[in-house]
């Protein structure tokens, strides 16, 4: 059992607010991922939960008990560092058993627990090696093993895979997901890689400049981003953002003027949208497709074939770029002028200052040229 609750948690350095009031409730056995650009405060927030960094405002509750002033070792949490932070002069087994040995646990019990962790992590053959003679992935597993052995209430990971090569990263990602199920533990995982976040999280916490931008399941964030920041951060290639104006908002549909003569009609309406107000239309690359005619026109500038899918980068009249993701078949050539249609029911709409506008939708989709 482990729940973590953050109530208005803040971190103020001398001249700098690193965390500006975060509210979050992590439920038992949840896999929560903190994601955000470099310097947004992910590590700081994680270290505050761990107890390695002082909380300067708000409350942290662990299992409902205020933990702000509890020293790190008595919070019952274990942390895995990006640098692994293994003890270089100890063997793998000694590394994993060190905390228990210092706590005065009996030798036989230590051996049992270390053996168990080694089995889970497939480290049995490496128990007598020093960290210097291990590969990156093996070191990472030892660091995780050191956490497992302590049987913590929750695991904290700070970018644990960022020092590994791409193939190993994918493999460890799967292994961590398996571990989460096998250990049945609460986990908080920090990364700046949105793919890691999407693939591993039960819930993603998007941080930006010390503030929560949005909290939700991966698909929630993907389909209903709360603002342009989340829309741009989650998903690769990025969501296309197109400036537009509201042309008319009638019952059931919202008509947008794209400024170049084209227009889009979105199903759904919102009372506050007066004609003439500037908005930003958000379109996922896979919701766009080539057509004889369509609201968007552009010249194909770059094509990337990824095997199963292809990416087309179009240059629109105003100089904006749009990305289209299609299946295997090749639809357009470099330099060709093309038109695009869009599945409007999948479109997102934002105010000019970046907040999502939820359109109440009861009409079927359609697009006009």
């Amino acid at each position: 059992m482990a729940t973590l609750t953050l109530n208005g948690v803040r971190k103020k350095y001398e001249r700098f607010d690193a965390i500006k009031g975060v509210d979050l409730a992590v439920t038992d056995r949840e896999f929560v991922v903190f994601v955000g650009p470099s310097g947004c405060g992910k590590s700081t927030l994680l270290r505050m939960i761990a107890g390695l960094e002082e909380i300067t405002g708000g409350d942290l509750l662990i299992d409902g008990v205020r933990a702000n002033d509890i020293p790190p070792d008595r919070r019952g949490l274990a942390m895995v560092f990006q640098s692994y932070a293994l003890y270089p002069h100890m063997t793998v087994a000694e590394n994993m058993g060190f905390a228990l040995r210092m706590a005065g646990v009996a030798k036989a019990e230590i051996a049992t627990k270390v053996g168990e962790a080694a089995r889970i992590l497939q480290l049995e053959k490496l128990l007598d090696r020093r960290p210097g003679k291990l590969s990156g992935g093996q070191r990472q597993r030892v660091a995780i093993g050191r956490a497992i052995v302590r049987n913590p209430k929750a695991f904290l990971f700070d970018e644990p895979l960022s020092n590994l090569d791409a193939a190993l990263r994918v493999q460890m990602r799967i292994e961590l997901a398996r571990l989460h199920q096998e250990l049945n533990a609460t986990m908080i995982y920090v990364t700046h890689d949105q793919v890691e976040a999407m693939t591993m999280a039960d819930r993603i916490v998007v941080l930006n400049a010390g503030k929560l931008e949005q909290v939700g399941s991966p698909l929630e964030l993907y389909h209903n981003p709360a603002n342009i920041f989340v829309a741009g951060f989650i998903g690769a290639p990025k969501m296309n953002l197109v400036d537009a104006k509201v042309a008319a908002a009638s019952a059931g549909e919202t008509r947008l003027d794209l400024g170049d003569g084209g227009g889009v009609v979105l199903p759904g309406a919102e009372a506050g949208l007066a004609p003439g107000s500037p908005v930003v239309l958000g379109l996922r690359p896979e919701t766009l497709s080539f057509a004889a005619t369509g609201p968007f026109r552009g010249i194909v500038r770059v094509i990337e074939h990824l095997g199963g899918e292809s990416l087309y980068y179009l240059e629109r009249a105003g100089g904006d770029t749009m990305v289209v993701k299609t299946g295997e078949a090749v639809f357009a050539r470099l330099g060709e002028s093309v038109s695009l249609t869009v599945r409007t029911e999948r479109a997102s709409l934002f105010t000019a200052d970046g907040k999502a506008i939820g359109l109440r939708r009861d009409n079927p989709a359609r697009a006009v040229a």
Binding site: F81, A85, P88, H89, R146
Partner: protein, 273 residues
């Protein structure tokens, strides 16, 4: 190509000249120690002569060499142990929990080494007199500790700084107490550094002459005071003085060459790499 070869030759010659210049006094001392007093002052100096051990016999019988040597050992090792005991926790705190003034503190400690010792001789002498520390080994241990402390703290500080902070944070998360961190993590990881710091402190303390000559006499005098006693009332006896000097320098030279590898390793490599 040619030019660089010529340069290389010039540098080699220069290096040898400098090395010989540095080594010459030691060589001269060594030669003189085996001459008679008359040979020692002969002009031109003798390079070939019949060596004698008489000077060593006299040097040992006039003043009790072993007594002074024992004092030197006690003071060198004692002051080094004491300095390490104080400097280890100090350097630990400064390296891993630096405050806003830590840098200033380190600079201040180093700045105390810029004051010529003679500047504080009178106050220290009076303090020692009042406290009854004159001519005691404890007093000399104390003064050598204080003398070496800034260097020892600085060296340990930089060795600790080489240890990644993550390792200690991991230990903190694991509930390892600060004392256990010190014993099981910091000391083993910084051991080469700690060892070379200790060796340097021993050598500095062994060679320290100013305070031991001024604050000690027959009871607590170290080998530095022993040498000094040969240049007193009756005038200078070069051969005996040289013999005494050889007896003083020899132990630390042997010690230094035995531990040279350790010293170099600690001073050139980081603590953990």
């Amino acid at each position: 190509m040619k030019k660089s070869n010529g340069r290389k030759f010039a540098y080699t010659v220069l290096a040898w000249v400098v090395a010989l210049l540095v080594f010459f006094p030691i060589l001269w001392m060594l030669l003189t120690a085996f001459k008679t007093e008359k040979q020692a002052v002969e002009v031109p100096p003798l390079l070939f002569f019949h060596p004698t051990l008489a000077n060593f016999a006299v040097a040992n019988s006039r003043e009790n060499y072993l007594h002074f040597a024992a004092n030197s050992v006690i003071v060198a090792f004692g002051s080094t142990a004491l300095a390490l005991m104080i400097a280890l926790p100090a350097a630990y705190a400064m390296a891993f929990f630096p405050g806003r003034r830590t840098k200033d503190l380190l600079m201040w400690m180093l700045s105390t080494k810029m004051l010529p010792p003679v500047g504080v001789l009178v106050p220290i002498y009076i303090i020692f007199q009042r406290l009854g520390l004159l001519d005691t080994r404890a007093g000399l241990v104390l003064i050598d500790t204080l003398m070496n402390l800034p260097i020892v703290v600085w060296m340990l500080f930089s060795f600790f700084r080489d240890i990644p902070g993550d390792i200690l944070e991991a230990a903190r998360m694991d509930g390892v107490t600060p004392r256990q961190q010190m014993v099981h993590l910091l000391v083993p990881l910084a051991l080469p550094g700690i060892a070379s710091t200790a060796l340097l402190a021993i050598i500095l303390s062994w060679n320290e002459a100013f305070w031991s000559i001024n604050l000690t006499a027959a009871h607590a005098g170290t080998l530095a005071a022993y040498i000094a006693s040969f240049s007193s009332p009756e005038g200078l006896f070069w051969a005996k003085l040289s013999a005494a000097s050889v007896l003083t320098v020899a132990p630390i030279m042997v010690f230094g060459s035995l531990t040279q590898r350790q010293m170099v390793r600690g001073l050139t490599f980081g603590a953990v790499k």
